[in-house]
Amino acid sequence: MPGTDAGIRTVLDALEAFAAGHGLSKAVTWPVEVSLDEVLANVVRHGLLGRGEAATVEVELRLDLDPEPPVCEVVVTDDGPEFDPLAVPEPDTSLGIEDRPIGGLGIALVRRLMDETEYERREGKNRLRLRRRLVAMEG
């Protein structure tokens, strides 16, 4: 995908169609969709330094339907400067409205929604792997 909003939309549409095509309901896929949106938004808005169309972000989606529940794995690779989103400090989610900073919640959500998150810098690229068992998530 190109490093643009249109690119994000294309990938989210593809994930939705991919999951629906395998008979998976929104009730189990939404945590992956939210997490992918968070990761791509971070990469496009910050990591690629506004290179947009000139930058390339690779997104791999894997769905393993053999186990019960099925497992979804997403790998996002970008060629921006080295940045480990998982190293960002956790925001304080106990603050009141007055004190809440606007933003900074995205990666915290990804951590809490996914079963596994793993970052590595490899061959000059950032590679973030997310994995989740596709079970319904109740608060």
């Binding site: 909003d5 994000i8 939309r9 989210l12 929104k26 009730a27 939404w30 945590p31 969709e33 939210v34 949106d37 968070e38 791509l40 938004a41 808005r45 989610t93 106990s94 603050l95 009141g96 409205i97 007055e98 809440r100 606007i102 933003g103 919640l105 995205g106 915290a108 959500l109 809490r112 929604l113 319904a136 998530m137 109740e138 608060g139």
Partner: protein, 113 residues
């Protein structure tokens, strides 16, 4: 995402339908902020049609709450499904907002503010 709007008494109901993600949340932010700037003080956000909400959407909720914090201004959320509730909870947002089950209750609550 589509955005429905309905004026009911002294309140405005805004109902986004579809994904509230990092791209579509910009549209929601524009609508919500332009209505507040236009003088709306009692806002109901009906999220019944929302497939999922990411942090970009939470940002819009937080901005609206900050702008409508002083009574008689008010913001009430309603129509929150399981997924949206989980995200609000994980973000620590549930205690920050007035939440009602359905639109009617939300309108009653916002009118009493």
């Amino acid at each position: 995402m589509q955005i429905g709007e309905e004026k009911q008494g002294g309140a405005l109901v805004i109902a986004p339908v579809g994904r509230v993600d990092s791209v579509s949340s910009n549209e929601l932010e524009k609508v919500v902020l332009s209505r507040i700037d236009g003088g709306e003080r009692r806002l109901v956000l009906d999220l019944a049609g929302v497939e999922y909400i990411s942090s970009a959407g939470l940002r819009v909720l937080l901005i609206a709450a900050k702008r409508l914090k002083a009574p008689p201004a008010a913001l009430v959320l309603c129509g929150i499904g399981p997924g949206v509730r989980t995200v609000l909870k994980l973000a620590g947002f549930l205690p920050l907002f007035a939440v009602e089950a359905g639109r009617e209750q939300a309108l009653a609550r916002v009118a009493g503010s």
